[in-house]
């Protein structure tokens, strides 16, 4: 496979995954805030800040914080690099560059998706279409994932796409944890007055579509400890950081078959990170959430850089 095309496939995977997380966060966080049990969680500013933070980062001071502005910028604003629209646009551009390697069916599903987003009525979206739009995004990305899994050879092409998908997934999950962590700090109270029992943990789980399974696993109301353990360390939770690391490790092994990868290779760093998380316990994270977040974000960036250096040079 051409190095340039591998780069396209990697980013195609990342942008599709990113679009889905941003859209889902917009959907779940917004709707669950409407009847949140405490005043802060219910306040519009609080939730809009959270949405913009997750999609882009801290909100600038002079930003005119209205629902319509926030929705438009996150969903459909072509001027904002972080908008869902641009994620899908870049996903498709990257798919174009690799069009000869992916299946006709996969290309068609990405292309249809792009036209759906491109032609979505912005006025309708910001006034009435939030649920419809974000739900459609989640469905279309599911279809695309199914086409990736079901119509491509499970060879290097697949491995590269899945590396992109899983590195992005881990990145976005950490991002969502970060956003909800700040929300929980700001909005303590609800069922209980404590941070560890904030309503925001429930919302966090719902944002990752992990609430039901978390309840099945722990049989208790989520706390900061159980939520972080489930979302970061549980390898059986399909969107946990740990699960993503397992996937990344499996897929890098397709590209690098060395039993003992060289110390400066991507495979080595991935193996090392995987091992570290495998033997981590949640109590070491809970007290230092901020430094954990910073550390894992840096590691994920390093992994992506190493993959780029090793495989995408042309």
């Amino acid at each position: 496979m051409l190095a340039r095309v591998a780069n396209n496939l990697f980013w195609m995977g990342r942008y599709i995954e990113r679009a889905e997380h941003v859209a889902r966060y917009l959907n779940v966080n917004y709707f669950s805030s409407l009847d949140a049990p405490n005043e802060k969680s219910q306040s519009r500013d609080h939730v809009l800040h959270s949405l913009l933070f997750m999609a882009n980062g801290p909100v600038e001071e002079d930003y005119e914080l209205t629902e319509k502005n926030a929705f438009y910028d996150i969903g459909l604003n072509p001027e904002k690099l972080f908008s869902v629209l641009n994620c899908i646009k870049y996903a498709r551009e990257n798919a174009n560059g690799a069009r000869d390697l992916i299946s006709t069916e996969l290309y068609e599903s990405i292309n249809k998706f792009y036209h759906f987003v491109l032609n979505y009525d912005a006025d309708f979206f910001v006034s009435k279409g939030l649920f419809d739009f974000t739900t459609q995004i989640a469905e279309s990305t599911s279809i695309i994932r199914a086409k990736i899994r079901g119509t491509l050879l499970h060879d290097e092409v697949y491995a590269i796409i899945m590396l992109g998908v899983n590195i992005e997934r881990a990145t976005q999950i950490v991002r969502i944890i970060q956003a909800k962590y700040y929300d929980a700090l700001k909005a303590q109270g609800g069922y209980d007055k404590k941070f560890s029992k904030s309503y925001e943990w429930t919302t966090l789980l719902k944002c990752i579509e992990a609430y039901d399974m978390m309840r099945r696993h722990y049989k208790k109301t989520p706390t900061s400890l159980s939520t972080l353990e489930f979302l970061i360390l549980n390898p059986e939770c399909p969107r946990s950081v740990m699960n993503s690391l397992v996937q990344v490790k499996n897929h890098i092994n397709v590209l690098n078959e060395d039993k003992y990868p060289e110390k400066d290779s991507a495979a080595f760093l991935i193996g090392k990170t995987h091992a570290e998380y495998r033997y981590k316990t949640v109590d070491t994270i809970e007290g230092n959430i901020e430094s954990f977040i910073e550390e894992i974000q840096d590691t994920l960036i390093d992994i992506a850089k190493k993959i780029e250096k090793e495989y995408f040079k042309y």
Binding site: M1, L2, A3, N96, R99, N111, I160, Y314
Partner: protein
């Protein structure tokens, strides 16, 4: 039934000046189209409007589009696809197939001769200045032996049916003829939209093109290579034919590369893969000669590969088609095609050339001067449609002027009768009915070191504007699925 028939063909013009592919002189449907016509008449005009929308959506969703740039933004458009297929019976096809193959072979002999012994010039059959004056003649190709001795692996010959009901060759394209992917898309789209029609006819498949193209490419592998690594090179995703490039690479299962993916070391060509450099042996290039190699041709080319031509000259890589074929498919050489075919193959041409009058020959000059209103006057050494006069569009004054120009330097001019393209039933959105529109036919012919292939089908291009004779997609042309019937 009668009323629906009337409605969907109500605006169909029957103009005796043109050859009608569907209706005979008495206005009856021709035998080969009868079944199709009956089946279509069972659909209402609303059915066709719906089918037409569905077919458009299918092309759009598949991303079979090209970009149109306006002031603010780039818009994606589809090539219009027509719901009424063209049918060519076996007898007629047999002539076309043998004819385009004959031309393709003769052109290959001709190019070899011009870049080697130039016998055809020495014997005075083709004038030397015809060749050397062409911008597409490459002195770099003199004495180069391409692998397998093949220059024009891929030829696209354009045919029309004149009012006399005979096929004529309009031109041969042997640089980078495009359009074959649309032949295949059109077939897919028509089958999806009107499967109940397709199964009443026994038409040849068109999906075997890619397999044959790959075999042709493998047949011209460089010496010493067992299993050649074949690739397609494209100018990139923004090229208007990018869909075709990616389709061809995908359907052959080979890599689609850009110039920046390739490099040359010690006169061998490599591509950058995720596992390091990998040698490339045969390149189907969809980049023009001038952009192939900045060291040899245009130095400002960012699309090509520095050193590629040198690797080619050494025989370490094969380019499909060879560089420098362009002098042989221009208008001036076209007029000599009957002589070229006779000279190299010792055969009479199977397909008609449009009758050409050389003003350098006194009796032909006399005819031309007396019949300018019925002729098209073309300078032999100009390309791109410059200096052409169409007789029936000239005023008396202009005719006199043209006459003087010709008499001043008769060697510079040729004249051809004004050809009229045949008409075919074509779905027109505005009237929601079938109307008559002009069509031509592009054929696709492959030749390799040990095999040859003509795609049984082709791209029937149709001018969607009423009365328009220009079928090019840039001028608002569309295309039709083309069925070649089995015996």
């Amino acid at each position: 039934m009668a009323t629906t028939q009337q409605s969907i063909f109500a605006s169909y013009d029957k103009d005796p000046k043109f050859y009608d592919e569907i209706f005979d002189e008495k206005g009856n449907v021709k035998k080969v189209y009868q079944t199709l016509f009956d089946l279509y008449s069972g659909h209402s005009s609303q059915d066709f409007a719906k089918l037409n929308d569905k077919a458009k959506a299918s092309f759009f969703n598949q991303g079979i589009t090209f970009q149109v740039y306006t002031d603010q933004e780039a818009k994606e458009k589809i090539f219009p696809f027509d719901l009424f297929p063209r049918i060519i019976d076996q007898k007629e096809w047999d002539i076309i197939e043998r004819g385009v193959l004959q031309r393709s072979k003769a052109l290959n002999h001709f190019i070899w001769d011009i870049y080697h012994d130039k016998k055809i010039i020495k014997q005075g059959i083709v004038p030397l200045d015809l060749i050397t004056s062409s911008a597409n003649y490459l002195h770099q190709m003199i004495g180069v032996d391409p692998p397998g001795g093949i220059y024009n692996h891929i030829s696209g010959t354009d045919l029309i049916k004149h009012s006399d009901g005979k096929y004529y060759v309009l031109e041969d394209n042997i640089r980078c003829p495009s359009g074959v992917s649309y032949v295949i898309c059109n077939r897919t789209a028509l089958k999806r939209a009107l499967f109940g029609v397709f199964n009443h006819y026994n038409a040849h498949t068109v999906t075997d093109y890619a397999q044959n193209l790959l075999e042709i490419m493998e047949s011209v592998k460089p010496r010493g290579v067992d299993e050649p690594n074949c690739v397609v090179i494209t100018p990139g995703v923004y090229n208007s034919a990018y869909y075709e490039h990616s389709y061809l690479a995908k359907s052959m299962g080979v890599e689609l590369v850009e110039g920046r993916d390739l490099f040359v070391e010690n006169d061998f060509v490599y591509m950058q893969t995720i596992k390091g450099p990998e040698r490339v042996d045969v390149i189907y290039r969809r980049i023009d000669d001038a952009f192939l190699d900045p060291l040899e041709f245009r130095p400002d080319s960012a699309l090509g590969v520095p050193g590629l031509f040198s690797a080619y000259k050494k025989g370490n890589v094969c380019l499909v088609n060879a560089p420098g074929t362009g002098f042989a498919d221009d208008k001036a050489v076209y007029t000599y095609m009957p002589e070229i075919i006779k000279y190299y193959l010792g055969e009479e041409p199977i397909l008609n050339n449009v009758q050409t009058y050389h003003c350098s020959r006194p009796d032909e000059l006399k005819y031309v001067l007396e019949n300018i209103d019925k002729l098209v006057i073309k300078p032999v050494d100009e390309a791109g449609g410059y200096g052409i006069s169409i007789g029936n569009r000239l005023t008396q004054e202009e005719i006199e002027k043209v006459k003087k120009t010709i008499q001043a330097s008769p060697r510079k001019y040729i004249a051809q009768p004004i050809m009229s393209l045949s008409v075919h039933a074509t779905y027109i959105e505005e009237s929601e009915s079938f109307e008559s529109r002009h069509v031509d036919l592009r054929t696709f012919c492959l030749q390799g070191a040990d095999k040859e292939f003509v795609l049984k089908g082709g791209l029937t291009r149709v001018a969607l504007k009423k009365g328009n004779l220009i079928v090019n997609s840039s001028q608002g042309g569309g295309s039709k699925d083309t069925w070649v019937l089995k015996k």
